[in-house]
Subunit: 200 residues, 4 copies
């Protein structure tokens, strides 16, 4: 296997990239010149040195002076709310909406439908975060509204119920309804039911 | 133009059907035999004789003994609510959800973004229905959550405001939120904001 | 089942039409008014009265004074060539190309991969046509270039070999190569091989 | 801009990669661990050191002991044929087909429809290669069968006509026809015409 093939094999591991596109990336790098390649190399090297996992919410963040990310170390945010999301990209979406000002926890995965062990990804880190959040009043589950997302939400509820009951913390879920661009004709019954209930 | 071409031209008027599929329909009818064709013919003829527009909600309905459809003549439904939808297919979706027990009105179209005349399709019929609904307390707008749907909803609100104010009728809209199958990463900010507000 | 549902059930039999689009066709007919519906009805009735299967090539044709279609009764066409195609729509495509001036035979189906009986659709009609074509020198197989199409072509060759050998008729197939819009990168090996062999 | 954003910006330059997938690549690299990242880094660095442009055909190749790639330095190939293709990936496809045993030239781009200058990418290198190919009898143009590909082919013909005439070299193009998987019904007229002409 030559260098081009070795690099293509590594690119094939990228999410959503098949053998053909991996090879196209290699041709692109061959054509793109030494400066671009060395920029790419140094950006990849710098990544690990400068991007860290936040001790608190478990998201990746940059340029910190401490073990917590900018959101978790921001004391102006609302300590009464904790939003549990699946992955960093979901957190980016919620922050971009500007509609949430509490803290976050990145679960780092879903619970498969076939997995009824009750175990969560990052479970101990989540429980430790809740224990350290003295003012917490509400945990908001923001899982995808798929069957796997709902199974994950149920598993979280089961795992957190004892501590939530003990400390009087409410567990809520994001509201269902018509998403932007929806047509009534194609909406499923559960979505319509939620949209009717949450009419305003 | 021969008979096959004449029929294809008529099929091209069907919603979503282009010239190629129209011709395929003709070949299908040629192959499908005389019994199927005469069944189709009599079903088309019977349609107009047996399906009528409801005097009240303006939807099409079958086999009635009077000028009102089965929903509008059902006195067990909730007379305090009126749901305004765009078209019959939307009404079918809401009925299928089982989540609504009031009455309906089929607007029969949207108001185009370029149309600021304030005129609604079926406007007089809608106002007459509201006047005849003595117990009405809430009008629910169930327009698509597109820019055109929102413009239509605003036009309805403007048109109905005087009568709603006078009779103390609330005008509401279906709730926004995460629809079934949604992934947080791809949700737009308005949907996330609504989903956070209507969390439960 | 009411008239609207009965008609929708008939539309669901149309090629490529599911329950939702079938219902949309019914709503379209309800809205489109009596004149359109009666035009559609008479066009469907006229179809069977005016469109016939050609005795010779087995395609559907209109307005004939005899049992043969316009192509088969056109003595100016080349009697040395017979093109075997699967269905009427394929014949339309070839005629539109203007590249062929011989006669046709519509096979009316493919031979499934699991069918090794050697039987062809319309086999007797095809053999009769060849027997009646005194000047025939070449039979051109124009099957789709799928595995099923190739299996059908092989079955035709086996079925016609005796008569072709006896009467010294050549059996050919349409040439393979790069179709319009093709990119070399995505072309399969067989296509590239054919394209190299038929370079010009 | 932090390291994650800087890397995402570089990934956005990859062919076919938008901002969202670029960010997903960054998260993937963050999660994938140090060993994978350092493998990727060294593979990118090695690329430039070990992959060279062939002096003769202009493709990228690896591990050579000289300035020519494995194909161009293989004296067992047919010196009478030269195939001109657009890019390395096209060459890979043709080699994989096993249907060609002559030499290659990678043009490295297309001529835009709006470009009527008659200039070719790599024009001087192509002419030099032809001058150095004493036994050359045929130049095969293997451009995509798009309007841009055909314009590129015409520009090549115009550019090479003098030298081809002088040295009695034929210029050919890959054959058109039905590609694998084609259905007659959807084939365009030019493809059908070519398929009829190259029937066999």
């Amino acid at each position: 296997m030559n260098e081009a093939e070795r690099l293509a094999t590594l690119f094939e591991k990228f999410p959503g990239i098949g053998p053909r596109q991996a090879r196209r990336f290699v041709y692109f790098l061959l054509k793109s010149g030494g400066e671009y390649r060395s920029n790419l190399n140094s950006a990849i090297s710098d990544l690990a040195n400068n991007i860290h996992k936040c001790d608190s919410c478990q998201r990746y963040y940059a340029n910190s002076n401490g073990p917590k990310c900018g959101i978790c170390s921001n004391t102006a945010r609302d300590p009464k709310q904790l939003l549990i999301i699946e992955k960093d990209a979901d957190l980016d979406s919620v922050e971009k909406s500007g509609a949430y000002s509490g803290y976050y926890f990145v679960l780092g995965g879903r619970v498969k439908l076939t997995d009824s062990s009750g175990k969560l990804p990052n479970e101990q880190l989540l429980k430790k975060l809740i224990q350290n959040s003295q003012d917490l009043e509400e945990i908001i589950l923001a899982m995808p509204t798929t069957t796997e997302g709902e199974h994950t939400a149920q598993t979280i509820i089961t795992a957190l119920k004892p501590i939530a009951d003990e400390r009087n913390i409410t567990i809520t879920m994001l509201g269902r309804g018509l998403s932007t661009g929806a047509e009534l004709e194609y909406a499923d019954s559960l979505t319509l039911k939620s949209a009717l209930e949450s009419r305003n």
